[in-house]
Structures are given as structure tokens and as C-alpha cells.
Symmetry: C2
Subunit: 288 residues, 2 copies
């Protein structure tokens, strides 16, 4: 039976996701944005126009078997009111956003948060696809069914038994580099400043303390592993939160630093660096 | 005898200073900038063109009796090489910049750092003069002589026996509000965010700890006094460091937060919040 697939959001991840699954003609795919427009990708310096036009969520009442939510995390509250219109009881919803805790805000069952390994950047009307094509999901009957739906596409759905460990690892990577680049308004080169490096190390230690109290199993090797990833960054590489701050746009701090901060408070942990980072990012967002 | 006066820097403070002293025709005043241009002021919505043109320091060898340095603090290193060309042994140099510690960098004797109470803003080619006309200086023979030179001008040179307390009070005021607005890229309204307010309070407490170890006498009332000043700020008021960050320009962090940080290290004090604030501002400045 033909499957109905919705992609909500036509930014970098949404557009690339469409590109990855649209080769399977047995899938009936709709993509949603805040206006009606074309989808253009640039892959290896070649421009590709996908044969789809974005639709608007508020005008849709079609029921979908799978819904990917790929918008910025802070827009979730604007999407939630429309979810009931486009789901049936067996719909699977996959959150493809930075951070964590979004699934708690959606009442529909079968909602899962993917660890997204898809790298691209939207510039004006075109999405540049850099690399990777993977969504990592927890191991259950729903995600296994989901995996089978996309078996004939270029999208790699990996089911992982240490899914939560992967979610948190990505959270920790983002906690460090997004916080430092956003708060210094500087690119990855900022880690060369000794004092920044010290703050970063303390911040990662606090993040790991929170994660482990939440049942995860990270250690000092994790910090080395994360620092090693940062070492691979080119000097002038920005992060999503760095670009947000450069453009005076909202950040996803509530779902990254804010989530870890909330877990720290829940466990009554002492996290002085995280507290300041959270305060400053919350101050940035205030009245913006 | 006719006195030769130099004003280095034709931004807000330099231009207003010129306006305040130029009514005394017994003073021979030159004003220096990085290019040759006119000086325009706006006072009570009325535009005034002063009958002076800026000169360039590198082209000058005239000896001055009084030199006011009014540029941004971080440009001091570019000015110092020219100081010997324009001074005689009895020249008095007055630093009119934010922060502290600049006098240590100038080898010429009779160099004093004023607490500047002059409020204005440079916008394109015009300086808007808001209010105040006071320089506070320490009590000594040189500053008393200086006071007498400007007796017939609109510049109020106040000699204070608790000068250092006033320097540090202004440092503390700037430490709090400049740090919070620059690091959140938000205006004075950001103090309404509870978490920001908490960080601010801790930061001020650390600042007072450093000041008192340096021989000053502040207490908890000082914090109330400073918070009271902040409470008088309009929501959308920025600070100099906020505007610097908005414009991707260098900040004077080295002379405000950096000076207090250096004193904290000197006294081996534990100042965790100050350390992070300093690290982030240093990260901002890196390679900019």
C-alpha cells in the first residue's frame, strides 16, 4: 500500500530528507513550509530542482503514515495545534531537530526523536547538501516498521540499542561548541583562547555529570572524544547557534542547554558554568 | 601665558570636551583624530559646528601643556609612540577613557586617569551631547594646577579625596551592566530575566571582593546602590560594550573586566563568574 509521508519544514534537513527519499516512487510525499515555494538543492556544485512544491500546514487535512518534523526546535509550539488534523492512530512522528525533550510536548503516541546526521546549509533559496544521510532511532516495533518503509531510499534509518547515549553525546557536543561560539560571537577558532578552553572543559564536565545522573555512562574519555571532534573543525566554521546570534535570530538554547539545565535542577546538581551559560542564552532570547 | 591644549580623539567625549573648553579664548586648543575633518555637535536638537578641524597625531611635533586622551581604551597602544613628540617635562596627561590601568602604560610622569562624567553619542558625523561635564581627578599639585587652567571654562574638574573609590565605583557599574548587555546582546531590559539578575549579583559581589582586597571600602549597600542605578535605565538603553558587540567592533573589556580580573589573580581570589565573563569577552575579541 502507498505510504503517505509528510515532511514539515523545508530548510536544510527537510529539503535534504526529501531528496533522500523521493527516489522511491511508492512513497507519496508532501513537504510543508510557511509559504508555497520550490525546493532547490546544490550537491557537489550542481543545482537540482526537486519536482515538489511546499504546501502550508494550516491548509492540510490529509492523514499521513509518517511525519518528519524538521523545523527549528522553537517553532514546535506553532506546529503542535495542526498535528491532530494530519495524523491517524498509527501515524509515526519523527522529530528531526536539535536538542531533546520535544517528544514530551507532543501528545500523539509513536513520536520519536531522531539523532540527525545530515549536514547542509540553507542560503537564500537554495539548500547546500554537504554530507551524511542518517537518522538514529530507539529500538522498538514502530521504528522497525519505519525502517522497512524507507528501505528502498537513500535515507539510512539506524536503530540503535544505545540510542539515548547517542542523543546525549550529540547534546554534549552541541552544549560545548554552540555555547562557546554563540556567547563569544566567534567561530571555532575561539577554542584557541586558553580561558575559553578552560570554561569549555568545565562545561562539558558538568554536562557529563548531568547525563550520568540521568542514567547515561560517559567518562573523561568522552571529553577527549568531544574535544577531538572540535579539533577537526576549520577555524572559521560557525555553529547553528553562532549563525543565529550573528543574524539576531532566536536560538534553540531551550532544547539544548535548557534541557540539560532542567535535568541538572531536577537532580539538584551543582552546575555553576552551565547556569551562567543558560542565563546568558536566556537573556539573549528575551524579548527577541 | 597662553596654554597649549591637545585633545586626542574626536569621538563623543573628545568633541564635547572641546565644546566645553573652547569658550576660553586664552586656551590654544588642537584636536586630533585619524583623519582631517570638522567637529559637529548636536545640543538640545540644535546643530553646532565648532571652528576647529581635526589634525593627525603623526604629523604633530608641537608641545602641549595639557593632553586629554579620549579615544577608545584599546587604541592607547597606537597613541603611546607619539606621546614623546608632543610633551615637555611639565605636560599633564589626562586619560579620559573607560576602565583603569592605562596610566601604567604611559611612561610620561604627571599622567592621571579621570573618572569621566560626560554623556554623549557619536552618530555618523555628528556627536549628540546628552549631559554632564565633569572629570574627577586625584588630589595633588598637578591636578590642582590643571583645575586652575580650566577655571574659566564649562568643564568641571573636580578634585576628590576619595578618587580611587570613585574610579572603582564606575568600574563596578560598568562591570555589571556592560558584561550582561554585551554577552546577551540585549539592552538593559535583560536584567528582568531572573537568571541574568542572579549572575549579575554574583558578578558584582566578586567585583567588590576584588576592590576591597585592593584597599577600597565597598559593602552590600554598594550593590543596592548600583542596582538602583540600573533600575533607572530605560528598557532599550544599550551600553558602550553592547553597541560594540552589535557592530562587531572591538570592546574595552581588557580595561574593565580585564583589569578587575588581573587584580583578582594578583590577590589569588576565587572569582568564578568574573572568570567566565572575562573568558567569553576575550573570546569575542580574539582575531577580531
Amino acid at each position: 500500500m502507498m505510504k503517505n509521508i509528510a515532511i514539515i519544514g523545508a530548510g536544510a534537513v527537510g529539503s535534504i530528507l526529501l531528496h533522500l527519499i523521493s527516489n522511491d516512487k511508492s512513497l507519496n510525499i508532501d513537504i510543508f513550509a510557511t509559504n508555497n515555494r520550490d525546493i532547490n538543492l546544490q550537491i557537489d556544485n550542481k543545482k537540482i530542482s526537486l519536482p515538489y512544491k511546499t504546501q502550508m500546514l494550516k491548509e492540510s487535512s490529509k492523514k499521513y503514515d509518517v511525519i518528519f518534523i524538521t523545523t527549528k526546535a522553537y517553532t514546535l509550539k506553532d506546529i503542535i495545534p495542526y498535528i491532530d488534523n494530519i495524523t491517524h492512530p498509527e501515524t509515526t512522528i519523527i522529530i528531526c531537530q536539535n536538542g531533546y525533550s520535544q517528544t514530551e510536548r507532543i501528545t500523539h503516541p509513536n513520536t520519536f526523536h531522531a539523532v540527525v546526521y545530515i549536514s547542509g546549509q540553507k542560503k537564500d533559496d537554495i539548500v547546500i547538501y554537504f554530507r551524511d544521510n542518517q537518522l538514529v532511532l530507539p529500538n522498538n516495533a514502530h521504528t522497525k516498521k519505519l525502517q522497512s518503509i524507507f528501505l528502498n531510499t537513500d535515507l539510512d534509518i539506524t536503530i540503535s540499542d544505545d540510542y539515548l547515549q547517542q542523543i546525549w553525546f550529540k547534546l554534549l557536543v552541541n552544549l560545548g561548541i554552540n555555547s562557546m561560539t554563540a556567547l563569544t560571537k566567534n567561530t571555532a577558532q575561539v577554542l584557541k583562547v586558553e580561558e575559553v578552553n578552560q570554561v569549555l572543559n568545565q562545561l562539558l564536565k558538568e554536562g557529563i555529570k548531568v547525563a550520568n545522573k540521568d542514567g547515561l555512562t560517559f567518562n573523561d574519555d568522552t571529553i577527549d572524544e568531544i574535544l577531538n571532534i572540535y579539533n577537526g573543525y576549520p577555524d572559521h566554521m560557525g555553529t547553528s547557534m553562532y549563525y543565529d546570534v550573528q543574524e539576531n535570530a532566536l536560538t534553540e538554547f531551550e532544547f539544548i542547554q535548557g534541557y540539560i539545565y532542567t535535568r541538572a535542577r531536577h537532580h539538584q546538581l551543582n552546575t555553576p558554568i552551565l547556569d551562567i551559560v543558560y542565563a546568558l542564552l536566556k537573556g539573549y532570547q528575551y524579548n527577541r
